[in-house]
């Protein structure tokens, strides 16, 4: 097959949309997908009606993105059938999906930053060897699409110069230019300001009114309630239920999302808070791209209490953690540990935070908390390598480090109990124990814990929770960040809910219901009024 024959299977087809053959734009039946031993999608059935906005909600790891990646041809399902417009299809790759009229707007945009809007739209869908005719046609086509869907973007603007919201429109334009009849949007509002999100919703509504089908992946209930016609709830790789949005309410969806999982029993007595050990005041933090992620956050944690920060991931928790632990410069605001204000400037702020008595169990242990190519004992001292007990002067006392590692392994029951094994060869739960053992073992005053049980097996979860409680009872101040609401509820003595870079509410785990907190996490309820009032 010559290249030119195969070059443009995704020619725009907007002009001649075929008569609908079926009521359903997309039908998925008994879709299964495993990654290794992880069953990411279990017997998923899903029907998406043409000309509607269909939401798919679920917690992180519920399998939403995997399912849509299968539909878009990124992954191939292990079993199950896909019907597009009533016809069964084997979608082999994304090019094929596009040819079938399925377009996707990825969470991380697939745009070439130093190209113009027009060039990005045309890329991969050029008509001929020279780009001028393609650009010309695309310009005309874009004008038409812009008029039709009220999607205005300057075709000659360079991507890196335009706002994130505008970039997202380019992604939508790309899909429409390629003739997409069904548009999948993966967490589209995660990167948008509320105003931009509202603009997006209006565009999506227009698309629907013009007969397109929209699939919206999200975990924000507010969005589901605001614009979808129907909603499917996923949990732990399974499709729980599909509802008509107008006939349900956020509480019901929240309950379905979280499910009635068996709450892990954590035996803990009442908290005995002492003096304030960690105090964060008016903290403003930006991410690597310069986007402000933490917006004027203040909080304090006292000795002998666990403060949990609940929130959907991506609402500034990571940046908050990194700043408090000295890994990321704050724009403004202060962090005070044990009465001492931390200087976070320079690229070794984490060392000063530790010196002040703060220990840090990072959210992403593989990426940050461990060097997986190191032997276990080398990770047992990471961050504390300069402590005198690991050797005086410039030398590293390997024996002392290994003794320490062995102690930690014993205390935290790390398996296999071999401190010479490469860290990558430990299971996720045991890797987490290595980190916890190291960070808890030095009697810190303040312990910052991010996602302590992510990717950890059930047995280890209980152990880890008990260790955290024990730290609290020993009079430590603990700040816990987790996207697992269960975990926050069972561990924390006070719950702060973070949404869009701010603490939007506080809840008492003893009295607040899951639904209540869930709504706050989604930016509704208690603080909803405040949120809606913002421009």
């Amino acid at each position: 097959m010559s290249e030119s024959d195969n070059m443009n299977p995704q020619r725009p087809k907007t002009a001649a949309a075929p008569a609908p053959a079926s009521r359903w734009a997309i039908e998925l039946e008994k879709i299964n997908k495993r990654f290794g031993a992880v069953h990411a999608n279990k017997d998923i059935d899903l029907k998406v009606e043409r000309g509607t906005i269909h939401g798919i909600v679920g917690e992180n790891g519920a399998g939403k993105s995997t399912l849509m990646s299968i539909l878009y041809g990124f992954y191939t399902a292990d079993s199950g059938t896909i019907k597009v417009d009533g016809t069964e299809r084997h979608i082999t790759d994304s090019r094929h999906a596009l040819a079938l009229g399925i377009g996707m707007v990825h969470q991380h945009f697939m745009l070439v930053e130093n190209f113009t809007v027009l060039e990005n739209v045309v890329l991969g869908a050029e008509d001929s060897a020279l780009i001028a005719p393609s650009l010309k046609r695309a310009r005309a086509e874009l004008e038409r699409i812009e008029d039709e869907y009220n999607l205005v973007v300057d075709p000659d603007a360079v991507i890196e110069d335009i706002s994130v919201g505008q970039q997202q429109r380019v992604e939508i334009l790309k899909a429409l230019y390629r003739g997409a009849q069904t548009l999948i949007l993966d967490e589209p509002t995660g990167v948008l300001t509320p105003k931009e999100a509202d603009d997006l919703f209006r565009v999506l509504e227009t698309l629907r009114d013009q007969g397109k089908t929209v699939i919206l992946i999200t975990h924000k209930l507010r969005e589901i309630m605001a614009i979808t016609d129907s909603v499917s709830v996923m949990r732990q790789g399974e499709m729980v239920k599909t509802l008509t949005t107008s006939e349900t309410n956020p509480e019901e969806i929240a309950e379905l999302m979280v499910g009635r999982r068996v709450l892990l029993r954590v035996d803990k007595g009442p908290a005995n808070p002492g003096k304030t050990l960690l105090e964060v005041k008016n903290l403003v933090v930006a991410d690597d791209l310069g986007v402000v992620r933490v917006k004027d956050v203040s909080l304090s944690v006292r000795a002998g209490e666990i403060v949990g920060i609940a929130g959907v991931s991506g609402n500034g928790q990571s940046e908050l953690l990194e700043s408090v632990t000295g890994m990321r410069d704050q724009r403004s605001g202060t962090v005070v540990v044990n009465g001492r204000e931390l200087s976070l400037k320079g690229d070794d702020g984490a060392a000063r935070a530790r010196a002040a008595g703060l220990a840090h169990v990072p959210e992403d242990r593989q990426h940050m908390g461990l060097v997986t190519t190191f032997e276990e004992w080398e990770n047992a001292i990471l961050g504390y390598q300069d402590a005198p007990e690991y050797g005086g002067g410039p030398f590293l006392d390997i024996e002392a480090a290994r003794r320490k590692a062995a102690e930690q392994i014993k205390r935290f029951d790390v398996r296999p109990a071999n401190n010479r094994l490469k860290t990558a060869n430990f299971s996720g739960g045991n890797q987490q124990k290595i980190v916890l053992a190291r960070e808890m073992g030095r009697d810190p005053d303040v312990l910052i814990v991010g996602q302590p049980t992510r990717g950890v097996d059930i047995g280890a979860i209980e152990f880890i929770h008990n260790q955290i409680i024990a730290m609290r009872d020993a009079g430590k101040a603990i700040l816990l960040v987790s996207v697992e609401l269960d975990e926050i509820r069972s561990l924390a003595d006070r719950i702060l809910v973070m949404f869009d870079g701010q603490i939007v509410g506080e809840a008492d785990p003893a009295t607040a219901s899951e639904g209540e907190i869930g709504l706050m996490m989604a930016g509704i309820s208690q603080s909803a009024a405040a949120l809606e009032a913002r421009p």
């Binding site: 697939m110 070439v112 130093n114 190209f115």
Partner: protein, 322 residues
């Protein structure tokens, strides 16, 4: 300096910047597609040898040129297999290529021709001759422009003109064709290209094929145009200067031409003047002029004058997530 000296320096500037320009454009295709290439030197050296050897044996400059391009292409593809298909370290692959070329050219030269690594001197058919452009006589009457045309513009080897024609050609290919659009995209955000249904590795191979061919012409220029036969380490670091020029030109074809002309001019200057006495600065050692391209590049890279930001995906093998 009298006018004649200026003319002769400018003439030498064109001659000396030609291989730089060809190599620089060669590197441009590769790096724009996201494959760092510090192996231009080796490709040129291999091509210079192959061109001279074939031209000497068959007495044909055309066969020589073809051989130079073919060998450079082969070298490039070897580097490509390591850096693209096997996802090896692009830098290490290029270092190996440079060394391989340095060793193999001298070794084979000595073995085949027994002249200490040199290839036999080329006859008239084995070597490109300067081309006289039309209207030299007619224009000779015009002051300044006439001699400028006759001495500087006219009277170069065909490959010189090819090199300079390649500048607008490259510009056109890069910015006006589908191929160029995809090539630039693949060096910036391969994932965007992949999701658009285009094979990243295939694009990269297509790019480095052009790199190989252009570097081949550059190499041949040394041995069968500028020189008459191959000598040990004939390219003498010009591949690295071309790399410096590429960075200095911020990976753009037209600035690449001007940078290569500047570096060629510096080269011409230092050949003519063993040391220059400049007003205000005093005596400038010739080595300072030699080092200038490198120093300028370092300063530019460090962001002290402007900022040189290369293709974003440069140097990273593309791994498709599946």
């Amino acid at each position: 300096m009298d006018f004649q000296v200026i003319l002769s320096i400018l003439d030498a500037t064109l001659r000396l910047s030609t291989p730089l320009l060809l190599a620089c454009l060669a590197g441009l295709y590769s790096e724009r597609a996201g494959v760092f290439d510090i192996g231009l030197e080796g490709k040129m050296l291999a091509a210079a040898f192959a061109a001279a050897a074939v031209a000497a044996v068959y007495g044909s400059m055309w066969l020589g040129l073809l051989a130079g391009m073919a060998v450079s292409l082969g070298t490039t593809l070897l580097q490509g297999v390591a850096a693209i298909t096997l996802r090896g370290n692009q830098l290490i692959a290029a270092v190996a290529i440079n060394m391989l070329a340095a060793g193999l050219t001298t070794f084979l030269g000595q073995t085949w021709f027994g002249q200490g690594g040199r290839t036999p001197a080329l006859g008239p058919n084995g070597r490109f001759a300067p081309i006289e452009l039309p209207f030299v006589a007619e224009l000779s009457g015009i002051p300044i422009l006439g001699p400028l045309y006759a001495e500087v513009i006219s009277g170069h080897y065909l490959l010189v003109y090819i090199a300079f024609i390649m500048v607008p050609v490259t510009w056109f290919v890069l910015f006006r064709t589908r191929f160029g659009l995809r090539l630039r995209a693949v060096g910036e955000n391969p994932k965007a290209v992949d999701t658009a249904g285009i094979s990243v590795n295939r694009m990269r191979y297509q790019a480095i094929i052009i790199t190989g061919l252009l570097a081949g012409i550059a190499g041949a220029y040394f041995s069968i145009a500028q020189g008459s036969g191959f000598g040990n380490n004939m390219t003498a670091g010009k591949g690295y200067i071309a790399l410096a020029a590429l960075i200095f030109a911020k990976w753009k074809p037209v600035p690449a031409m001007f940078t290569c002309l500047l570096f060629g001019f510096l080269d011409a200057l230092q050949i003519r003047l063993q040391s220059a006495r400049l007003p205000l600065i005093g005596e400038v050692p010739v080595q300072a002029i030699q080092a200038l391209p490198y120093i300028l590049t370092v300063i530019l890279l460090a962001g002290f004058i402007g900022k040189a930001v290369g293709p974003k995906a440069g140097g990273v093998p593309y791994v498709k997530e599946r």
